[in-house]
C-alpha cells in the first residue's frame, strides 16, 4: 500500500506544482504576491466545466479552461498590476486580495453556491498492478503535469524568449537596456503561469469530481507557503516543494495516521524553512 500512497501523494503534489509555478514565476519577475492566482485556478475549473457541458469532450474542455485562464491572467496583469508597478508592492497585493474575493463572489453569483460535478470521462483507463492502482485521473494529472514541466524547462532553457524571461527575473532594467521588450516578456510570463493554474483547476475538477465557488481559498494560501518553501521565484525548488508537501500530507494521513490537519503541513514546512534555510529548499544564500 506504500506504493498506492506514493501515487496519491505525487498526484496531489503535482497539482500543487501546477498552481504554485505561476505564482513563483510572477514573483520572480514582478516581485508581486499574486494572490488572485488562486482565483484564476478556480476560474479555469469553471470554464473547463462549462465548456465540457457544451462540447462534451474532456481534452477540449481542458484546453479551453487553460486558454480562458491564460487570457484572464494576462488581462489582470495588463489592467490591474501594470498601472500600479510604480507604487510600493503592497498596492498590487491589496488589489490582488480584493480581486480574489471578488472572483469567488462572482463564481457564486454566476454558477450558484452549490458544488457542481465535473463528470468527464478522460478515456485513459486505470493501470492496475496487483493491489496497486493508478487511477485514470491520477494518470491524467501525471501526464499533464510532466508534459507541462518538460515544456516549461525546454522553453526557459532553449528559447530566446525563455532566456529573456530568466534575464528579466534577475534584472529587468539591465535586460531592457539590451533591447528586450520587458512588457512582452511579462505578458508571456502571465499567460504561461495562468494557463498552468487553469490546467490545475480543471484537473482538480475531474480528480475530485467537484467544482465549487471557494475552491481557490485553500490553494490561495497553500501555494504561497509552497512558493516560500521552494525559494521565492525558484522554479525547480517550487516543483520539489510541491511534491514534498503532497507526499508528506498523504503519509501523515494514510501511513502514520497522525490526526494532523492536512492544510497545516505546508505551513509547518514553511516555518521550518524560514528558520533554517530562509532562501528556500534549492535557493542559494
Amino acid at each position: 500500500m506504500l506504493w498506492q500512497q506514493l501515487a496519491n501523494g505525487i498526484a496531489i503534489g503535482s497539482v500543487y506544482a501546477l498552481i504554485s509555478l505561476g505564482l513563483t514565476m510572477v514573483y520572480g519577475i514582478l516581485k508581486i504576491l499574486h494572490v488572485a492566482h488562486a482565483g484564476i485556478y478556480a476560474l479555469g475549473a469553471y470554464i473547463g466545466l462549462f465548456s465540457f457541458r457544451l462540447v462534451g469532450d474532456f481534452w477540449v474542455s481542458l484546453f479551453i479552461g487553460m486558454a480562458g485562464s491564460a487570457l484572464t491572467g494576462y488581462l489582470v496583469e495588463r489592467f490591474l498590476y501594470a498601472p500600479l508597478l510604480h507604487l510600493p508592492r503592497i498596492a498590487p497585493l491589496i488589489v490582488s486580495i480584493g480581486l480574489f474575493t471578488a472572483m469567488e463572489e462572482a463564481f457564486r453569483i454566476v454558477a450558484g453556491p452549490h458544488t457542481i460535478a465535473y463528470n468527464a470521462t478522460v478515456g485513459l483507463g486505470d493501470l492496475s498492478i496487483g493491489p496497486f492502482r493508478l487511477t485514470e485521473t491520477q494518470i491524467l494529472i501525471l501526464l499533464v503535469t510532466f508534459g507541462t514541466l518538460i515544456f516549461l524547462w525546454t522553453f526557459l532553457t532553449k528559447s530566446r524568449t525563455g532566456l529573456a524571461m530568466r534575464a528579466c527575473a534577475q534584472d529587468a532594467e539591465t535586460t531592457s537596456s539590451f533591447g528586450v521588450n520587458v512588457k512582452a516578456i511579462i505578458a508571456v510570463n502571465f499567460l504561461i503561469g495562468s494557463a498552468m493554474a487553469g490546467a490545475a483547476g480543471v484537473l482538480i475538477g475531474v480528480y475530485d469530481n467537484q467544482v465549487w465557488p471557494t475552491m481557490g481559498s485553500i490553494p490561495a494560501y497553500k501555494a504561497l507557503a509552497i512558493v516560500v518553501l521552494g525559494g521565492l521565484g525558484n522554479i525547480p525548488g517550487t516543483v520539489l516543494a510541491s511534491i514534498i508537501v503532497g507526499l508528506v500530507e498523504t503519509f501523515f494521513i494514510g501511513v502514520l495516521a497522525i490526526p494532523f490537519p492536512r492544510d497545516a503541513v505546508a505551513f509547518v514546512a514553511m516555518i521550518l524553512v524560514l528558520m533554517f534555510r530562509p532562501y528556500g529548499l534549492l535557493g542559494k544564500a
Binding site: 498506492q4 493491489p131 487511477t135 469530481n209 467537484q210 494521513i253 492544510d263
Partner: protein, 394 residues
Amino acid sequence: MRRLRGLAIFLGVALAFSFFWFGEGKAQETIKIGFFAPITGPAAADGMSAKNAVELGVKEVNEAGGIKGKKVELIVYDDRLKAEEAVAIANKLIEKDKVVGVVSGSYSGPTRVTAPIFQKAGMPMVAGYAVHPDVTWDPVQKKPNDFIFRNGFLGEVEGAAAAEFAVKNLKAKKISIISMDNDFGRAISAGFAARAEKLGSTILTKQMYKFPGEKDFRPYLTRIKEGNPDVIFAAGYYNEAASIVRQAKELGIKSQILGEEGFDSPKFLEIAGSSAEGVIIATNLDRDDPRPLVQNFLKNFKKTYGEDADMVGASSYDAFMILVKAIEKAGTDPKAIQKALMETKNYNGLTGKISRFVQGEVVKPVQIQVVKGGKFRRMAVIDNPEVITPPLKQ
C-alpha cells in the same frame, strides 16, 4: 441630488411604516410560525429542501382550512449556516414577529444556539433534523430544554442503528470508520463504534477528516483498503460522501459502504453518479413507505419543485406538522402548545410513526435505505427498542 435624497428618505420611512401596518393587521387573522434554514451558503441544497417542504406543508394546512379557521403564516429566515445569524433570527422571531412556535430546518450549529433563547422565552421549537444533544439539553444547568423537541435522530441513535444493521444484517466482522471532524460526525461515529463493538465486531481503523475542506480521501481510503474490512462506515454530508464513494470505487475498494442521513440528498446521487449504486444509508425517510401520507408528499414535492424530496425536507415537514397538530389541540398559547407536544403519542409522521418524545428526543424506527437505479430504496427498518430509544441525558 438633495431632492432625490429627501425622496429616498421619505420612501424609506413610508415603507417601514407600511410593513408595520400590514404586520399589525395580519397578526389578528393568521397564526404565525417561525422558520429558519441555511437557504444560502455551504448547506444551501439542504436549506432550500427544508424550506420547500415546509412551505408545501403550509399550503396543505391552509388549503384544508387552516388551524381552526385561521390561516398559518410562515415567517422564513435564512441563517446561512451561521450561529450568529441564528441568534439574531431567534430574537427577531420572539420580539418582532411574535410567532407562537418555531420550526428549525437547519443544522446543529445554528439550531443549538437558538435553543437556550427559545427555552428562556418559553417558545416551543421543533427541530427537523439537527442532531446535536445540546439542542434539547441545557449542558450548564444539566436539565432538558423542555420547550425544544426534535424530530430527527440523535447522532448516537442513528449511529447505533447503522451498526445494528451492519453487524446483524450484513454480518460485518471487520469495520473501518471514516468520519468528518465535527459534532455530527463525532456523535454518529461514536454511537456506531460503541454498538458495533458491543455486538462483537472489530473496528479496524477510525479516521477523522477535516470538515469543511477535505476533498482528497485517497490517503484515508488506501489505509482502509489495507485492512480489507467488510463494511466501511462513512459519516459526512453529501459533498464529502460523494467524494468518498467515488474515490473508493476508483481505488478498487470492494467493501460495502454504509453511510448516514448526511448522504440523503439528490446532490449525493448527482455527484457520486454510478459509484453510488449499492451504497446503504441509515436515515429518517423511507421512500417506499406505502402509507398515502408519504407517497402523496413525495409526489407533490416532485410536482411542485421538479426534484425528488430528501430526508431533510421530509424531517422539516414533519417538524412543522407536529407543531401544527399541537396548536390545533392546544390553541396559540406557547405554554399550552409545549404541553401538547409533550403529550404527543403515536403520531403518524412522514418519517415514521413517532411513539413519544423522551426529554424532547423522538422515539421512532430508523430507516435503512439502499441506492438502486440511482434512487434511494427501502432495505430494512431498525426498530429494536434497545437501539432506537435515546439514552437518558444527565
